[in-house]
Amino acid sequence: MNKHEFSIIGQPLPKVDAWAKVVGETRYADDLVMPRMAHGKLLRSTHPHALIKRIDTARAQAVPGVYAVITGADLPRVKFGILPVSQDEEALCNERVRMVGDAVAAVAAQDEETAEQACRLIDIEYEPLPALMSIEESLGHPEIRIHEYGDGPNVHKNVALQFGDVEAAFARADLVREDVFFYEGNTHLPMEQHAAVAQWGADGKLTLWSSTQTPHYVHRLLARILDVPAAHIRVIAAPVGGGFGGKLDPFAHEIAACKLSQLTGRPVKITLTREEVFYVHRGRHPVLMWLKTGFTREGEITGSHIKTWLDGGAYGSYGVASTFYTGVINPVTYRMPVYKFEGARVFTNKPPCGPKRGHGTPQPRFALEVQIDKAAEQLGLDPADMRRRIVCEPFTKTANHLTVTTIGLGECIDKVVEASGWREKWRGWQTGAPRRGPLRRGVGFACSAYMTGAGTAIYWNSMPHSGVVLRADRSGGISVLCGATDIGQGSDSILAYLPAEVLGLDPKDVHVPPADTTLTPVDLGSYSSRVTLMCGMAAIQAAQRLRAVIARAVARKLEVDAELLVFRDRKVGVPDDWEKAVPFPHAVELAEAMHGVLAFPGSYAPPKRAGKYKGGGVGPSPCYSYSACAVELTVDEETGEIELHDVWIGHDVGRALNPLLVEGQVEGSVYMGIGEALMEAQVFRKGLHKHPSMLEYKSPTTLETPEIHTILVETDDPEGPFGAKEAGQGPLLPVLPAIANAVYNAVGVRVDEVPISPEKVLKGLDLKRQGKTPRVGPERIPLFKFKEPLVVESAFGQPADAVAVRPFADQETSR
């Protein structure tokens, strides 16, 4: 289909759930109330690292209004974790706590106050162990082990991959730079605090409503953790009040609610406090990075070598994937013929890190884009032009065997250069920024790429990643059943638009019930920017199957060739003879009479393109989105404060299925990038989170958020639904380095770590005044032995495999 043939795709339509949201009708998990419902509360560890010697719940049990108190002893003794390779969590800790905030007991009571009061009456005796609060401490104390498993004492994961000969590549270069960067950890901070309601029915079956991004994984894991057949568990995703990756693991409160419901015979609700959300976390890993890259005089990259150390926190979570992500995505942006990556994730006694918007990739992106800026200066090149020249070739493979398809980065760069007035504003290196009093203006540039859905599932299997069942009703409405969860990104709307487009309906005619493991086919979850592409493809397949059957029935009735039929305006007919067109409800009746019940599946699994080496499964994606970003800001030389004025962002989204939604995702990503660049940080002190509150964890308000100018670039990717790629994460990535580069442009200070606080800017200015190198950032890297690298030939420049062969694809859906 061509763009101009679409009726819904490309239109700035309201989201299907917008109306409910603007009148307060949407019922989030904490809004659910059930008869006889009890309220639960978790008791959490007050020690960063300790053995549990004794738990006495007697005093809590005795509180009037308490229905049940449980500890780890009441749950099956299984450890779990989202990744099969890191099964290291317990819902309620039995022998040992590994962070302040680990759950150790839970109470159900007639109201939340009573539950809280009872929690405070649970007596626990701890034997404190030394707490390891940083990468250095954990590596420096192998005798204290946070977990017994892993790739070494306190080393969760140690990976090393090499594609081609980096030393030779550096030898070929005109300029080789080595830089060290640090990216502080930060958290998702969804406005909605996690909540879950569990109801263990008298029939022995369990239903859980939860604010989760991944009902399917919760379903699977609950069965294991509770030792109940999965067939007797139903997980329903409540509308999620913000996720960003923070609601992607199974959590203690979900499990405790289930158990408490079983014991009390009542529905049990547990809603976390804001402070608990900071402990549950799974946010951005703090990452220390060493990056060495060779450049030619023209700015071509000859090769790049990155080492990353991730501060993982107390548990595995998605950490193994996160570790790989700090290494594997950098090569998809620029021509990078030779590449080496070494990464290690270290356990510490802090809340576990995991996936946050951009999962593992913003950190190395920050390093690379700042380093490119430094190289451009040394080479005397315009940093936007330099990037423009070295953009990857479309439909080729990268050094690390990732297949890239369409690349709109060049166009993104051009449009951002144009829109931002880059040519006038960027006045060359060392020319001195415009000044007014102590205020200096600067501009900065950076680019990035991100994946559109992970090419492999979290647990190995060859089933679809996304499934849809599409049911047509005699009313003329259709229902799209899919296990995807709308976390605000608009996936329910996409699931309505795509079938509506195929079937000539209005999105309002399409019903998208919430993900429900008993009703909706599996979708793996709302992560890695996979939903629009994967569910979208499955929905299109299902819709096309329905369309084919309806077309046959209508063709018979109108006595025309089915090929000639057009579906539009809720009618099916031949364009030349539109008066005879059959209204859609009637068409459904005809088809149902002919075919029987109209319910059609759609399935999607990504093309199998994993690199044929160990570790090659992380990084492949059906396609990659691209972004270019320019930032204009002012730095106050007396205070070090940074004021952002404008952010221009060009984003290659393949096709904007709904430009409003895409812009919304881009703007939200930019916003989050700004927060991470300037102020957001998970900081720890004396074994505790320094400030687990909305007030002290600084999230930008309207006053810190600049005007964001979004420019959408469409490349019509053959892998995506009607050509679409992702938009929800990638645009965060270039924002941080663009800001760092703009700060340098304004005041000549390099802050090689985020957040770029006023203190750091001032420190840089002081160094500059003293005639020292005006750089603020990490000085050292840990003494650490990475694994012997797995050496693989570079696949750089090889042509992409022709049109991808996908499992479950059929004639109708291949375009």
Partner: protein, 337 residues
């Protein structure tokens, strides 16, 4: 959900009744105005009063009376929004309007009162935490414990005076009227504060702040600058209030008061002294700013590094003075930059 501990709520209609109730209930009772400071603290179990005496129903405590030429009287129950938007205040005591208008967020200013702001609890990031957090770290002497976690050897608490309006009112030379069942007294606001993070107010528990009186504004010019990370929500981690009386272009009287650098607002007397009889030249300003940074002794218990807050004291004092001198330094000086 964070919830309040149980209490009994009393809503007297007159100051006299309120004073009587406070006298009756003694240490069990606390005064509540807008509750924007007290309720979060109660939810974190910093306070668990058995009785709350709400002042909301006492109409005599609400509103601004008088005029700039004879002096203004600010009812302590006047909301921060009302203070910041009051025409007379904005025109003649601009620093006060600025400070009131920079407190937290618009919603909070609709609820929070000027009286509550004057009496607001001192802050410390070891203290403004939930009960569970404080238990995990081992409590400190301001509540439930006996050591100071910021300055472990110290025998006192260094929690920070974090009111925006207090330094301004001090610099304006405001007086306050305190009423209790035993009678009333009117004192300079400067004497309300004590250099102690725990007992930070030099008033009895049962004394109600019943009035805030500003002296006539004639000839005085004032500025307030606030340092914080975000333009909304955040408490000051440095406040600079400057009030000058000018005789043509010569400073005849000056008061500089710093907020959020100690357990009480700190008057920078030598700095102010140095300006007297001077024209506001760059040199005079620099000298005063250097002197003002002297008394600022921030500790590491708020947002921003303490060395940075100390450094900013100089910059902010200079900026406030430059702005009063009408010297354009490129920065918008009524708002924090």
């Amino acid at each position: 959900m964070m919830r309040l501990p149980p209490f009994t709520y009393l809503a007297p209609k007159t100051v006299a009744d309120a004073a009587r109730l406070l006298g009756e209930h003694g240490a069990d009772a606390m005064i509540v105005a807008g509750g924007t400071d007290l309720y979060p603290n109660m939810k974190r179990r910093q306070f668990e009063p058995k009785v709350l005496v709400g002042l909301g129903a006492i109409s005599e405590l609400r509103g601004v009376r008088g005029s700039a030429s004879r002096g203004l009287s600010l009812g302590p129950m006047t909301t921060l929004t009302a203070v910041s938007q009051h025409a007379e205040v904005a025109r003649h005591y601009p620093a006060l309007a600025t400070a009131a208008g920079l407190v937290s967020s618009p919603q909070l200013r609709n609820m929070g009162t000027i009286g509550g702001n004057v009496c607001v609890d001192t802050r410390c990031n070891y203290y403004n935490q939930s009960y569970e957090w404080r238990k995990a770290i081992g409590f400190c002497m301001k509540k439930d414990g006996d050591i100071c976690l910021v300055a472990p050897g110290s025998s006192r608490c260094w929690a920070v005076s974090s009111s925006d309006t207090a330094p301004v009112l001090w610099s304006l030379g405001a007086h306050i009227r305190l009423t209790s069942a035993d009678g009333e007294r009117t004192v300079p606001i400067a004497t309300l504060y004590r250099d102690d993070g725990i007992d930070y107010l030099a008033k009895r528990h049962d004394e109600i702040l019943a009035d805030i009186v500003l002296p006539p504004a004639d000839g005085w010019r004032s500025r307030y600058l606030k340092l914080r990370r975000r333009g909304s929500f955040d408490f000051p981690v440095l406040g600079v209030a400057v009030n000058l009386r000018m005789d043509a272009d010569v400073v005849s009287e000056a008061r500089i008061v710093l907020g959020a650098v100690a357990s009480l607002p700190r008057e920078a007397k030598p700095a102010a002294e140095s300006l007297r009889g001077q024209r506001l030249t760059e040199e005079a300003i620099t000298r005063a700013a250097d002197l003002a940074a002297g008394p600022a002794k921030p500790l590491d218990n708020t947002d921003y590094a303490h060395f940075y807050r100390k450094k900013m004291t100089r910059v902010f004092v200079a900026r406030a003075l430059r702005s009063l001198a009408g010297l354009d330094d490129g920065v918008d000086s009524t708002e924090a930059p």
